[in-house]
Symmetry: C2
Subunit: 161 residues, 2 copies
């Protein structure tokens, strides 16, 4: 089954190259950016400003192709791509939860942005602990590596940059 | 910008009709289902069984069209669609985090499934608290309604069913 989506806007960030970019929002928690929602969708943002966090769904637009087994940024072992958050995936879709600081019409000022400037946005959902927070019992190869994600930066492994 | 994605598999659940279906994983926490990943992508699942939770990204395939302002299941007021998790959205993409009980080759046995049987799957990501858990300060119109999501069931408002 094939499906076609159109971007509803763009994410603006200070990151113009994949290299040196934080690899997760936790590594970019003070980095501010802007979500520019196309004017035709602006009415869909009504009341979103009452949520402190939103989840952005977007396209890893600089990602090219994929491998089913990869060595992720934070590990020296090979894992299945679905056991990683790497951008080079069969469907290069990214999700990032960010703090929503303010809405000004079709613009959302956000904090904790870990994506490239110009990233095409597919959807915005309110982040709700009841739906989004789970008590995990294991995090696979990321065990003991979660803290590293805060300081780890992207390299050239996953992009054309 | 347009982008085209292909399903990597299907989600199997006991829900064959939108009516009466839980509207969030929190309302379906004991409901088991199966993720059937197409054989060609099975290698990408290596090591995913070491994560207790995964986030599924999928298509709301029964959803038709969208309105920018809607009255969500759990409220009597109108809100912008991006301030809701309603399935009828400009890009009908859903995200649900589920417990991963077991992997058997290309099949994942999951628990907490809140989607329709046959839902086309776009991506699977490991759920990692460091990346996915945030301390919110407000949840907009969902304040005081989060608990309701556990028992609320879907109605005919959003589907063709």
């Amino acid at each position: 089954m094939k499906v076609s989506f159109s971007a509803i806007g763009r994410i603006r960030s200070p990151f113009h190259h994949t290299e040196g970019m934080p690899i997760q929002p936790s590594g970019a928690k003070d980095v501010e950016g802007t979500v520019e929602v196309d004017a035709m969708y602006a009415a869909g943002l009504a009341d979103i400003e009452h949520f402190s966090h939103v989840t952005l769904i977007y396209i890893f637009h600089r990602s090219e192709g994929f491998d089913l087994k990869i060595k992720p940024f934070m590990d020296d072992s090979v894992h299945g791509v679905f056991a990683t958050r790497a951008p080079r995936r069969p469907n290069p879709i990214g999700i990032s939860t960010v703090a929503l600081l303010k809405r000004n019409k079709n613009l959302l000022l956000i904090k904790g942005v870990d994506v490239l400037d110009g990233t095409p946005l597919l959807d915005i959902k309110p982040y709700v602990p009841e739906f989004d927070v789970f008590q995990v019992s294991s995090v696979g190869w990321l065990d003991k590596k979660q803290q590293q994600a805060k300081t780890w930066k992207s390299d050239r492994r996953f992009g054309s940059e």
